[in-house]
Subunit: 388 residues, 2 copies
Amino acid sequence: MEEKQLLMIPGPTPCPASVLLAHATPMINHRGPKFVSVLTEVTANLKTVFRTQNDVFILTSSGTGAMETSIVNTLSPGDKVLALSIGNFGNRYAKIARTFGADVEKMDFPLGTAVDVAAVRAKLEADTGKAIKAVLVQFNETSTGVVNPIPAIAAAVHAHGALILVDAVSGLGAIDLDTDGLGLDVVCAGSQKAFMCPPGLAFVSFSARALAAAETAKMPRFYFDAREAKKYLASGQTPWTPAIPQFFGMQQGLRLMLQEGMDKFQARHLRLRNATRAAVKALGLELLVPDDGIASPVITAIRAPEAIGPDAIRKLALNKYGVVFAVGQDALKPTVFRIGHLGYVDDTDVLAALGVLGSVLTELGFPCDPAAGVVAAQQSISQALARV
Amino acid sequence: MEEKQLLMIPGPTPCPASVLLAHATPMINHRGPKFVSVLTEVTANLKTVFRTQNDVFILTSSGTGAMETSIVNTLSPGDKVLALSIGNFGNRYAKIARTFGADVEKMDFPLGTAVDVAAVRAKLEADTGKAIKAVLVQFNETSTGVVNPIPAIAAAVHAHGALILVDAVSGLGAIDLDTDGLGLDVVCAGSQKAFMCPPGLAFVSFSARALAAAETAKMPRFYFDAREAKKYLASGQTPWTPAIPQFFGMQQGLRLMLQEGMDKFQARHLRLRNATRAAVKALGLELLVPDDGIASPVITAIRAPEAIGPDAIRKLALNKYGVVFAVGQDALKPTVFRIGHLGYVDDTDVLAALGVLGSVLTELGFPCDPAAGVVAAQQSISQALARV
């Protein structure tokens, strides 16, 4: 069964059959009335998930394209930017800003921890001349599996007055984020994450402040120009030919998401996280993020036993059992692997994956009870479901 | 039958069912071995269609993203660029270069004509200081339905020494273009055109000279950085999460294309063009491009009768018959409509569309024999097929 795989990675997530089949819908004219109705429904439902009344623009790109969009539309070369990094995607956000000429001050926090809000607040308070124009931050840092305290960070940024740009690509929808309540200026998301859809589309919300910044921002942009996106959105279109199959897919994905209900949807991700973490500990492995309070509901990073290494675990799981775990990224590549529990993943998928993890560890000579992970996950899940 | 439509537009084209269904393939890890094999096959087959040994990079974007990629990777702000425009996409290409800081000199040629090679040659010969770093040109200008004489333009550019960047988005594959034989430095294409696939992917070939330019070019780029694309291509990946469904679709689309054979594929487009032009004339309408020698094999622009206008024709064809014609663009919007005969379109589709055109014209009070178009197209097609 080479074809059958259990995708336990932080995107693309597995997709419901109805979402996949929506991608096979015959083509339509992206300048005609049918496309307008699809785009209108998708945009309205995205706003519900984003918890915003702001404009949400749909881009044909990966999440990285959304990150670039957030920067080039709000900043000018030479603008001072404070980039908060807790991992690979924080580094990427800073790099994009630097590439387009921003004067980036980067605050790095240890891998596996969240942003230290007090340090950020102090940095912003010290900027009495208000040189800092924007703060860049991840909602959920995919490389380490940490959720940043966006409410506290947003409060500190608002006290200063800078824009707050949030890369929420891997977290939005699966973890509650109140875009309007927290006054987030730009929020980035992607189709292949919580939306249970294939990759191909990215989403960006722009506050009134961010749209005003787009009018004066001097960084060059064409494909990712938010002013063009806003202009075309007014007539239910995108400036450039969009990835039409993913629009049909998102139409269905969002319907399923809202049908499940955001509360249940997010409770499911929390339940899967808790089960995974309980299993990892029961198997005698070390979590990259010991602190339950900041551990990601969508992705769990695990230190591989030193004698075995993460690659052997991933390869045996893939080749023998068809279970796909994710690699560690950058500095964590030699020591860490990750289990995604994001999107169209349920309790049975997690139980299966954790069973395979126990078997693989045992087969690679790691001293553990191969069933210990499943047992712990069963208990964790049963208890969580009993509370519902 | 509101669902059933006959798409006669220059992209997205109709798609074979097998291509659409390939988009419903379950998701895979874009960092795993299965994706490598898909990307490798698609890239190899793209090179065959591009007629190149150059690197071909696959972008998750529209064709406009490919155009931006060609510019920001080969030029620096302040570089002098010669932009040859025969319509809307020529204007767009110039605008992208200007947006990123190029010093653009634009040569505009009348709508419905091709680039005047003698004028271009004179302009390049006058540039004895070799200030011009690149020449921008469309292969097939979609807004007017004109094919530019790329061989002659390329010869003039090579005599000068500038780079030649070619937007071949709507033409590549349907019309022969010898990327390597003509020494084209960057060539842009898109999935929703000749490849008979939905939109979502764009393609760019980079010559050795273009790749060398990318090392020194100073225009800022991140998402569209060709250096990153080249680095990841070496391991069968893309830098950012790709539109995976379209990769499965292109795998199938390219197989069908090469199975039909490029000669037959391109002869079909020429046959459909000739049939359409014969029908338009027989119906008493005026072609925007009177010159058969430069008329596009993929799209025919038609002047609507003044008393009726293009919108009435398009709307009646769509609402009464489910046939989708394309709008005129920019300056041509009030007077022109277009019939696409691109991609997964065959003789029967063209006959049907031209039949509807005759009926619609008659119903709108235009004095013509409603069957005249179909009769002329039948004759044209029969004669062409008899010659095979």
